[in-house]
Each structure stands twice: as structure tokens, then as C-alpha cells.
């Protein structure tokens, strides 16, 4: 019954959206400070494996924190490379992704005795039923039963994020570092520490997203479980014009696109479109959006310059 599937699909959608949103929010802070970070995927991967181990050793909360921490620490590599040594942002991001894979395999072997996955059944957080929403009709309520608290926390972060950006000194300075670093410097504000902060926030949130994925969603670690969600987060970020609420909406849209093929296989609307093409949707949408809305899509001015690519040698 299609409607029954809708609820399950929505549940899955919320999970994917959480991952995309968390990573995207981290990316938002990073890029608003002027550093492009395409290594969100690699940071997420680091989060998945460290968090899984942490959950097994200590418990789910510790695991999530460990994932967050691991992402932040690993992102320091990107920060040092791009901010201090002014390495090209894209190159550094690629390196992060590549190294993360090797690192994950190494750690997985170390922690779980197998290079590509852990045992299943990692302890996870107790699940909640959201009081009013879980009683929604048409099966939608199912999406709000058995929900991981991380989902709530993640989406709840949108308000503090907006507040930090708009109403704190740090947020103002961070944004100015990304829009016009020269103006920032002329006023005596140092740009480098702000960018370090931005990069590490992206590492932390991407790592947390990874932790959520391995602990709460899959209850295990396995190689490749991130499925490119880190890149989709980038897409959501761009589509959301680097602002928290549009990002959230983008994350929900992409999350839904991820969930659809898994839950609505037999739904008649989708049966004529092969699953693989449905998977392409978020990517195609982003391309169309960027190509079509280039005037409206406005990266932070300094970060945008990094998107323009390096000069040849």
C-alpha cells in the first residue's frame, strides 16, 4: 500500500536528511569563513569508524562524541594546509577524502579485526516517539516513532546556527572573513583563527553525521556506507545558497530522494523510472540549479574565488 510506504519512507528520509544537514551545516560554517571543503565525505567516513568503535567500547553517546572529535581533529589537516600554507582548497579536500579511506580501513582492521566492516548491532541510543507527530494519519506518524534523538538535535541546530551567524561577534567576523578578508584585516581582525574555526566546525559536524550513520542508522560500520552523502551535502549547501534554513530544506529534499528508491519500489509512479535514475536526481537537480540560477547562487565571495580553480603552472 503506497501510503503505508510513505511513512516508512519519511522515516528513512529524516535519517538521510539528518546526515546531509549536519554535514552541510558544517560545510556552511567552513565555506562562510572562506575555505572550500570538498572533504566532507572523508571527514564523515572518519566519523563513522571512530564513532562505531566508541560506541562498542563505551556507549552510544561516547561514540557520537568520538566521531565528532575525530572529524574535528582530522579537519585540522585541511585547515593547516589551506589557511596556513595556502594550498589549493580543492587539492587539500581531495587528499582528505583519499587519506580518509585508507585511514578508515586501517582503523577498522585495528578495531574490528576486519578491514571493511564491524560486527552489527552496535549499541545505539534509546529511541523516542514524538508525542503529537507520531499520531499523524495516513501512516505518516510512523516516521515519528522510534526516532533517534540525534535527528531532533540535528534539526534543532538550525536555530543556534542562525543565532551564532547573525547575533554574535564570532559570526559577524566569520562571515566577513569569507566575504572580504581584506576588509577584515584592515579593521585589525585576524582572519586565520576564524578560518581554522570554520574548518574545524565542518569537521566536527561531518564527523557527527558519520557517527549518526554508523551508530544510529546502520548499527554497524561498513566501508562505503557514506555513499557520497558528503558530496550531496555540498550540493545541498550550494542549493541552499549557504544559508541554514534553505540548507535544511535542501537536505530534506535530497534525503527524500535517497529514501524513495528504497521504500517505494513498487509504487506505480516510480516503476517506470529505473532505480538508478532516481538516485541521480539530487545530482542532476544540483547541476540544473547551479547552471540555471548562477546569478542567484552566491557563494561567500572569498570562498567563491577558490571555486574558480587554480592557475596553471
Amino acid at each position: 500500500m503506497p501510503l503505508l510506504d510513505l511513512g516508512a519512507a519519511l522515516a528513512l528520509c529524516l535519517k538521510y536528511s539528518t546526515i546531509i544537514f549536519l554535514a552541510g551545516l558544517g560545510g556552511l560554517f567552513c565555506e562562510r569563513s572562506g575555505i572550500v571543503n570538498i572533504g566532507l565525505e572523508g571527514l564523515m567516513v572518519t566519523g563513522t569508524v571512530m564513532a562505531a568503535w566508541g560506541a562498542i567500547e563505551f556507549g552510544p553517546v561516547e561514540g557520537l562524541l568520538l566521531g565528532l572529535l575525530a572529524g574535528a581533529v582530522f579537519s585540522l589537516v585541511h585547515a593547516v594546509a589551506t589557511v596556513t600554507f595556502r594550498v589549493d582548497h580543492i587539492v587539500s579536500g581531495v587528499v582528505i577524502n583519499v587519506v580518509a579511506l585508507g585511514l578508515a580501513r586501517f582503523l577498522s582492521q585495528l578495531f574490528f579485526g576486519a578491514a571493511t566492516q564491524s560486527d552489527s548491532g552496535i549499541p545505539d541510543l534509546p529511541k523516542l516517539d514524538i508525542p503529537l507527530l507520531s499520531n499523524l494519519p495516513w501512516g505518516l506518524g510512523r516516521a515519528f516513532e522510534n526516532m533517534s534523538p540525534v535527528v531532533l538535535v540535528a534539526f534543532g541546530l538550525v536555530w543556534p546556527a542562525i543565532w551564532v551567524l547573525r547575533r554574535t561577534r564570532f559570526g559577524l567576523r566569520l562571515r566577513s572573513a569569507g566575504e572580504n578578508p581584506e576588509a577584515t584585516r584592515t579593521l585589525g581582525v585576524r582572519v586565520a583563527p576564524l578560518r581554522y574555526a570554520g574548518v574545524m566546525i565542518s569537521g566536527a559536524l561531518a564527523g557527527l553525521a558519520g557517527g549518526f550513520l554508523s551508530i544510529e542508522v546502520n548499527q554497524l560500520y561498513h566501508e562505503g556506507q557514506t555513499q557520497g552523502l558528503g558530496f550531496i551535502a555540498l550540493a545541498a549547501l550550494i542549493l541552499g545558497n549557504w544559508r541554514p534554513i534553505p540548507l535544511m530544506i535542501g537536505a530534506l529534499v535530497f534525503g527524500f530522494a535517497q529514501a524513495i528508491p528504497l521504500r517505494l519500489d513498487d509504487f506505480f509512479l516510480w516503476s517506470w523510472l529505473p532505480e538508478q535514475f532516481i538516485r541521480m536526481i539530487p545530482y542532476v537537480v544540483t547541476i540544473v540549479a547551479i547552471a540555471g540560477f548562477v546569478g542567484k547562487v552566491q557563494p561567500p565571495a572569498a570562498a567563491g574565488r577558490a571555486y574558480e580553480g587554480a592557475g596553471g603552472t
Binding site: R169, T186, A301
Partner: protein
């Protein structure tokens, strides 16, 4: 711009007490002395104008005061106490603020956000209080800006007011304005002056760096003239005149006396009609004939860049027509214009002239790499190109280690010679030369001038854009002055420097002096 009747030039607020005293300031850069034993006293409650040509040392002096450069010699004292200013932060702490010629504002921020950046007053922003304070400052000094407006929607004049407010918000008592009216319309200039008078009457000190003599006479209480790093004169508006100031600024021209060949001037090669180009070219007509050098004299920033680029094809013409040898080239690509006989020696050697990372010989054919003599079937004919490069380097005496040395390894003079050699080698009909000897040593300048005069005798048409009057005099057959995007006068080379200076710096249109 009518002089304001009744401006008492600061009697109201002037206390006359010395605020900042610069003594014996000397600042050197490799090869030149930018400031040479400069003494300057700035008092409270005045508008003090600092005038001089490009390269006179006005901006350098103020950057020393603002802490951007350390002086090699000399002392600065503020309110009687000797101080050391190591950075803009120190300067601001002492009450000295500066508004640069090129604004540094964050477009996507509001006015208030731009103003409070770096002076937020605490980890949390109280935007309401900040808005209120900005609004209060604005009304107090008569600035009309809305604190919550986004900077990207502001006019240039409004942006400038934001920059000034940035300084006022931090409680500065001395405000340095570097060429503030360079980018303003006359109305905006009037508004600015009204604001400056209010500030002065409230006891602030304004340092007004400018080359625009009319404005200086209108707004300044005292005037200091710099030339070649030295103070050459001081005056007040009541004791001087535009002519006297121009003479002090410009001095006696002509470093070299080169013989101008007597050449038959021929057909019209370049014809420009009603040309407008964003942002600063506002309707220009001119004509250059073969065998003629037309000199466009003007201070940089008055539309020369746009004119040169529009003629070459790097900038689209918003309105108007450009014709080369009779053909309408207004919409032609750069490549097509070059094929039709246009050559370009740019003002920006590095950004528009040479590819620094490439070798000398590779730079020699930039723009001509698709000529049948230099490439066939898509492959470069390296030997031929290197032959050409060797010839050019020999002819123009370009000092370089080897043909394969990167262009970046050449000195400025040699780079310019290379560009000139390359452009002339294409046997052009029209040569557009923008600031061709900027930053060059004496020997290179003489060489370039000789070359240009030689080209003239070969029947080429040369459009010369220069801010150096020496150069204009030495080379031009006719002179047009440009100011704020329009041609303000046409002169023969026997016009006096005062006449040219005035036309270049904002006087009314003059009848043609012959």
C-alpha cells in the same frame, strides 16, 4: 561646483592647537626616496589639503602616519608626545583614521555591520544599540545613511560615508581621506564637503589628499604641496590661486628634449565617436591619423583605462562607435582588431601584457601565435619564433639571461621593452600605448620615447594615454585632456603646463588654445 559663499574656512571650530606633528619624515623604497625630510603640522579643527602629482609622496606620507609603513627617519608626535605607530590599530588608538581610495567594505553586510566589525564591544552583538549609535553619529555629522541598508545597494558616495563612519565610530579625531572625490559625482562631492565642514567645526582634523585644485581651494583651510617627496610650498586659499598651485605641483616640465620628426600626417586611422564605457568613460570623440601621436593627458582614474580597453576590444562599448581605417570595429573581438592592425601596450604589464610564467620567447608571439609564420598544422614553429625573439631582444636591447628565462625574471624596464618590441613587430596601423613608461628607469623611458617617435615617422598612428606631462609634451602632436570620463580640451604641444594641469584637474572646458 561653485565655491560656497560664506564658508569661513573653519574659524568657528578652530582651536589652532597642533594635534599631529610630522618632523623630518623620510621614507625610502628601493631606488627612490618617496618622502624626503617632510615636515607637516596638523592642527585641531582644520581641513588640511595635501596635494601633488602621482608619485609626489602624498599617500606614502599618510600611510606612514597611519602605521602602514615605518618611516626610515623622522618623528611623529601626537598632542605634544612622541609616538611610534606600528600598525593601523595603534593609529586608531591615537585617534587617527584613514579612508583609502579603494573602499574595503563587505557588500553583503549592512552599513552597521560593516561599521562595527572589529569594534563590536562584546561577544554578543546588540544590533539595535549599534544601529542607534550609527544613526546618532550619522545625524550628528549630517551623513545620510540608513544603518540597516546593505552596502551593495549603496552609491559610491554613500559607501564613502560608511567608510568615514567606520573611523568616526572608533572615535578618531584626525581623518585622512585619500583622493576622496576621485569617484564622486559633483553632487556627491558637495555633500561630502558639507559633511567635512561639520566635522571640522566640531573640532576634528581632516587631511584631504587630492590633485583636484578647484576642490582643494573650496574646502581646505591650509594647503601643503609635495613634489618628488619634498614639501615645495604651503598656502591658504586666500593667499594662492589655482595657477600658482598648479605650477608648484607640476613644476617645469620636460626631462628630455627629443627631436620630433617632421612627418606628413595622413589619413584617419582611428576614429572614436560618442564612446561610453562602464564605469568611467562618458562620451568621448577623438581621431588619430597616420603619422600622428595623439596624447591623452589626464590623472589616472578619469576614464583612460576604459578608453584604452574599449578601443582594443577588452571592454564593451556601452554607446558609441569605433572605426579602424574606416571599418566599424565596435563589436569586433580583440583578435579581429589585431588582425586589422591594432597593437596594444598596456598600462598593466603583468595583467595584460605578459604571461610571467612563460619564457621570453613564448611571450614574444603572444597574440600572433596563429600567424602562418609561427605555427603550422597547429604546431608552433619553435625555431622561427626563437629567431624572432632573438631579433627583438637584440633590437630593443632587452637584458635577459636567456631566451628561455621566464618573463618574470626581467626588470620592469626590460619587460616593457619586450612588450613594445612585440607589439611593434606586428607592423600595426594603430598603436594604443597606455602609461607606457610607468615605473621605468630613465634609460628605458628615453628608449621607449625614441621608439614611439620612430614609429610615428613610419606612418603609424599612436594613441598615447599618459599621466606624465613630460611624456605628453615629448611625444604628442596634439593633446587632449581627459577628466571624469570626458575630453575637456584640445591643445597643441606649446600649451603651458598650467593650462594642461587645470584642464586635467577639473577646470571648466576651455576653448582650444592654439
Amino acid at each position: 561646483m561653485d565655491p560656497r559663499a560664506g564658508d569661513d574656512h573653519g574659524e568657528a571650530g578652530r582651536t589652532g592647537a597642533p594635534f599631529v606633528v610630522l618632523s623630518g619624515i623620510t621614507k625610502r623604497f628601493p631606488g627612490i626616496v618617496a618622502n624626503d625630510d617632510v615636515n607637516l603640522t596638523l592642527v585641531e579643527g582644520e581641513v588640511h589639503a595635501l596635494i601633488g602629482e602621482n608619485g609626489a609622496g602624498k599617500s606614502t606620507l599618510m600611510r606612514v602616519l597611519y602605521g602602514l609603513y615605518p618611516p626610515d627617519q623622522g618623528r611623529i608626535s601626537v598632542r605634544g608626545e612622541d609616538v611610534r605607530i606600528h600598525s593601523p590599530r595603534d593609529a586608531i588608538a591615537l585617534g587617527i583614521g584613514m579612508v583609502h581610495q579603494h573602499f574595503v567594505l563587505v557588500d553583503r553586510f549592512t552599513v552597521t555591520e560593516n561599521i562595527i566589525l572589529g569594534a563590536e564591544g562584546g561577544p554578543l552583538l546588540d544590533m539595535e544599540a549599534a544601529h542607534a549609535k550609527v544613526a546618532e553619529l550619522a545625524t550628528r555629522y549630517g551623513f545620510g545613511v540608513r544603518p540597516s541598508a546593505l552596502v551593495e545597494g549603496l552609491s559610491v558616495g554613500e559607501e564613502q560615508r560608511v567608510e568615514i563612519l567606520k573611523a568616526l565610530y572608533r572615535g578618531v579625531d584626525l581623518l585622512i581621506l585619500d583622493e576622496p572625490t576621485a569617484v564622486l559625482t559633483p553632487q556627491e562631492t558637495d555633500e561630502l564637503f558639507a559633511n567635512l565642514r561639520t566635522l571640522r567645526d566640531a573640532g576634528k582634523t581632516i587631511v584631504f589628499i587630492s590633485h583636484k585644485l578647484d576642490e582643494v581651494l573650496e574646502i581646505a583651510d591650509r594647503i601643503t604641496v609635495l613634489r618628488r617627496g619634498r614639501v615645495v610650498g604651503e598656502a591658504t586659499p586666500s593667499t594662492t590661486s589655482k595657477e600658482k598651485l598648479a605650477e608648484m605641483m607640476v613644476g617645469r616640465p620636460v626631462l628630455f628634449q627629443l627631436e620630433k620628426p617632421d612627418v606628413q600626417i595622413g589619413e584617419s586611422v582611428l576614429r572614436v565617436e560618442g564612446l561610453w564605457a562602464a564605469p568611467a568613460l562618458r562620451g568621448v570623440d577623438l581621431e588619430v591619423k597616420s603619422g600622428e601621436i595623439l596624447g591623452i593627458a589626464g590623472v589616472e582614474g578619469n576614464g583612460q583605462l576604459e578608453l584604452a580597453e574599449a578601443v582594443v576590444g577588452l571592454r564593451p562599448a556601452v554607446k558609441g562607435r569605433i572605426a579602424l581605417d574606416g571599418a566599424d570595429v565596435t563589436t569586433w573581438s580583440v583578435d579581429k582588431r589585431r588582425d586589422a592592425g591594432l597593437a596594444f601596450v598596456p598600462a598593466d604589464r603583468h595583467g595584460q601584457g605578459l604571461v610571467l610564467n612563460m619564457s621570453l620567447w613564448e611571450n614574444c608571439i603572444l597574440g600572433r601565435q596563429d600567424d602562418p609564420g609561427f605555427s603550422r598544422f597547429g604546431l608552433l614553429l619553435i625555431r622561427k619564433i626563437k629567431e624572432l625573439a632573438a631579433k627583438l631582444i637584440r633590437l630593443f636591447d632587452v637584458r635577459a639571461r636567456s631566451l628561455s628565462a621566464p618573463a618574470a625574471s626581467l626588470s620592469g624596464g626590460n619587460q616593457q621593452k619586450l612588450i613594445l618590441a612585440r607589439e611593434l613587430e606586428s607592423d600595426p596601423r594603430l598603436l594604443v600605448a597606455a602609461q607606457p613608461t610607468r615605473g621605468l628607469d630613465v634609460g628605458s623611458i628615453e628608449f621607449v620615447w625614441t621608439q614611439l617617435l620612430e614609429q610615428k615617422s613610419e606612418g603609424r598612428a599612436i594613441l598615447l594615454l599618459s599621466a606624465e606631462l613630460d611624456e605628453i609634451y615629448a611625444l604628442s602632436d596634439r593633446i587632449l585632456t581627459i577628466y571624469e570620463g570626458r575630453i575637456t580640451g584640445e591643445y597643441q604641444p606649446d600649451a603651458s603646463p598650467e593650462q594642461l594641469g587645470l584642464a586635467m584637474t577639473g577646470d571648466q572646458r576651455q576653448e582650444e588654445a592654439s
